[in-house]
Symmetry: C2
DNA sequence: CTGAAAGCGCTAACAA
DNA sequence: TTGTTAGCGCTTTCAG
């Protein structure tokens, strides 16, 4: 391994000078500068980031904590983070928690060990409050992405879930629906809460009843949604909703498959709106109406925010960025009520 | 920040002793050990990984270089890497190249800077040969995952693409097809080459002709596949293939959509087999027959291999791990020829 | 304008 | 059985 010493020797200058030309951090005479640059070139020298990091007490690395990169929601968010990080000269380490407590503890350890300068947390659940609170109090840079936590004073970047679900409900209502169901997701997340509450609010505002048996908890899972939907379709028509707002596109797909497997039609017998607008929602044979979440932007802004926070010396108030959602209308929401 | 010195002082021992108990690297009397542990507890001490890394000349971090985490092929592979890395106490940094030269150069820089101990490269194309060759010669640990590069003497973990495409072609033949097309992908990759060559071999072995106009290059893209497929469907029946092997499931979806948009049926008018077996392939309304690639295992084995290589002192011959594929038969491949 | 040297936090060789 | 200390590669203060 070639070090700064080798360069100094080879160029006939001190290590200080080498460092100064490399970092452009004080004047060095053209001749010496040239000699240094040439030595760097000849010996193919690259400064060691670890040594640098030890001095500078940073690593130019961010940690992205998510539950599961395999969940199609996250890759876009991760990419947003990575692009923003890269643009600022930061690397991004990926930390899947698989929703396991042990894994989130390990993630948090990374910042204490100094392996990362900040943490972007996209998997926050209520239970993490304590562990994160501690981190925040100790002054570690943290930002919550996508999911936030009540009572945690910290930067966050989230989608406007309230607006998103409201637009879905209103759209159904504009089509003439009055019996609208909601298939909810993982209970402990802010995302689920906000969408659920938004649903209830929108329904109530429109003077429409909330039927408990139409509020199905699917944990965001295709199969559970399939089952719940199949159950719903067994009810007589008057007992069934005519439309359903789904926690995500997987759930929506589960509903659609169950409806059609029981011989009914989407949207005629059951209109469906999903959430997230994943790739497949736009394909010819799915054509799922869905509330688009700006996943990439969430990741990007979160990374920018935390980098800003890391580089800024004085502290500032935690800020909350809320990004707009958009209802993307396709076929599964239908043109109106059919009977 | 609390350092080893603080612990030493607080426990009334030397820093060496602290280090020794923390790493269990030489005998320390029970009393002193206890005092140290207690100090660690009280001051909430966590050893600094950067300082450690500087000494040890490693970072316990792996770099995963891929073209685009947003491509649904990669998240599983990434997760396999992460799980294996985590199990061995390594972190994983994600490096999206977006197929840009500048980005791969940056990725390679990471290892030279000492930010990562090894690189798992899942985005290798022919053009990278030079840059990677150099790295290998300098002795940096590298493993190729999914895609390999000809003439590069280095560990690799890939799927048996040859076997995969052969099973697809044979299956079509067993169903009575003789006019079989192939929709290929990105030219520069080993994956594409192997599947293409495998296709040609399997067809030739069966005495079936290869029609150049049925070998469509789609770059693995849904839309391009859609267009190419639409063109094919404009031909009179005798000029059309009755079945098509697709480079990946996106391409297969594009074909299916185009076929049906032109008023034809899958599999009756066109039987389809995809590659990768992504999530949506298994859903009710897609039911795509597809060649499953063990994505998670590829990532997992690649990470294990490189960790092994990093930790082993003496060098060993580069090894190549080839994992089996599996044809998952669903609806789109049909039961046989229909007219 | 340039260099010597301290020191970032840790490990481990050497000494006692 | 334990402590002292050099040194990992780099930046930056201090002195010249």
């Amino acid at each position: 391994m070639v070090t700064i010493k080798d360069i100094a020797k080879h160029a006939g200058v001190s290590v200080a000078t080498v460092s100064y030309v490399l970092n452009n951090t004080r004047y060095v005479s053209p001749q010496r500068r040239e000699r240094v640059l040439q030595a760097v070139e000849e010996l193919n020298y690259v400064p060691n980031a670890v040594a640098r990091g030890l001095r500078a007490r940073n690593t130019k690395t961010l940690g992205l904590v998510l539950s599961d990169i395999t969940n199609p929601f996250f890759p876009d968010l991760a990419k947003g983070c990575e692009d923003a990080a890269q643009a600022a000269g930061f690397s991004l380490v990926m930390l899947n928690t698989n929703e396991q407590r042990e894994r989130i503890i390990n993630a948090v350890l990374q910042i204490r060990e100094g392996k990362v300068d900040g943490l972007i947390i996209a998997s926050a659940v209520k239970q993490d409050l304590g562990i994160l609170q501690e981190l925040v109090l100790e002054g570690y840079p943290i930002v919550l992405a996508h999911r936030r936590i009540q009572d945690l004073q910290v930067d966050s970047v989230v989608a406007d879930n309230f607006q998103g679900v409201t637009s879905a409900v209103r759209y159904f209502i504009s089509l003439g629906h009055t019996r609208i169901a909601m298939f909810t997701g993982v209970d402990e997340t802010s995302v689920n809460m906000e969408r659920k509450e938004g649903f209830i609010k929108a329904m109530t505002d429109a003077g429409l009843p909330i039927r408990q048996e139409w509020m199905c908890n699917t944990l965001g899972d295709y199969q559970l949604a399939y089952n719940a939907s199949a159950n719903l379709m067994r009810l007589p028509w008057e007992e069934r909703p005519t439309a359903v707002v789904c926690m995500n596109d997987m759930v929506a797909l589960g509903v659609m498959d169950a409806v059609e497997d029981r011989g009914y039609q989407v949207p005629a017998d059951m209109a469906v709106i999903g959430f997230d607008d994943l790739f497949f929602a736009g394909t010819q044979r799915i054509q799922l109406t869905s509330v688009r979440i700006p996943r990439y932007e969430i990741g990007q802004q979160a990374a920018r925010l935390i980098i800003d926070r890391i580089q800024r010396t004085k502290t500032m108030e935690p800020m909350e960025i809320v990004l707009p959602t958009q209802l993307v209308v396709r076929k599964t929401s239908g043109d109106g009520i059919y009977r």
